[in-house]
Amino acid sequence: MSVKTKEFTVEVPQYLYDESVKLTNLGLFRDLSDLVAAGLRRELREAKELVEFEPGGWEEGLARLRAQIRERKAKYGYEEPSEEEILAELRATRREIWKEEYQPRYSFGTG
């Protein structure tokens, strides 16, 4: 049984289009529509998870997350890195996310 489809026009940054064509031509997706549908499915899954939850207070959410962290630490015997190590790791993560997700959106981005 075939799924009913809907045709619509989307506007995306040039770099996203170029990457999409490249990966589609490599055979990772049947065509551009297949890639767009895969991306939409992933984004909608995450968005649905969020809307299923009512807005809550910070305090109770923080207490719950702290309890979960304590549980994980106890369960896996996790040894906390030093503050310096944490800050260094965060700098590397920020650089990584910037290069992957944000820099290509700006004209000064060098990739």
Binding site: L62, R64, E80, E101, Y102
Partner: protein, 134 residues
């Protein structure tokens, strides 16, 4: 105010007393969270505790925290790059100016050393706790 990712990473598990105190009182403050900061913390919490999604839920559903899903204007980022900020830090500083926040709270020395160049205050958690009389 805008909090840098290190405040959440050090404050939620309570690795740093001032950051933890700031987290305890965050529900009473008006906070903006740049999407890049949310992604950094989510990635870190996933890597260390497998709790990335739980952090994401906490921050995106808290009534007093506004997540900035849109990116700041390019000219604002360029302004901070020209002041000597690294590109990725310039994006965070641009967010602070963009939303008109008074404070950027960070333990990042690169930020703290440039506090005299910007229109908002850049302070660490210890100073913030004292300023806000938490």
């Amino acid at each position: 105010m805008v909090l840098d990712s290190n405040e959440y990473i050090l404050g939620i598990p309570a690795n740093n007393a001032s950051c933890a105190k700031l987290m305890d009182q965050l529900g009473d403050l008006k906070v903006y969270a740049p999407s890049m900061v949310v992604k950094e913390v989510r990635r870190n919490f996933q890597r260390h505790y497998e709790l990335g999604r739980e952090f994401f839920r906490l921050i995106s559903k808290s009534k007093n925290i506004t997540v900035l899903w849109s990116e700041p204007p390019e000219e604002l980022i360029l302004k901070y790059i020209n002041l000597g900020f690294a590109e990725e830090d310039a994006a965070i500083a641009a967010c602070v100016e963009w939303v008109g926040a008074e404070y950027l709270i960070s333990e990042n020395r690169h930020f703290l050393s440039r506090s005299e160049q910007v229109a908002f205050e850049i302070v660490d958690a210890e100073t913030a706790v004292s300023l806000l009389q938490i």
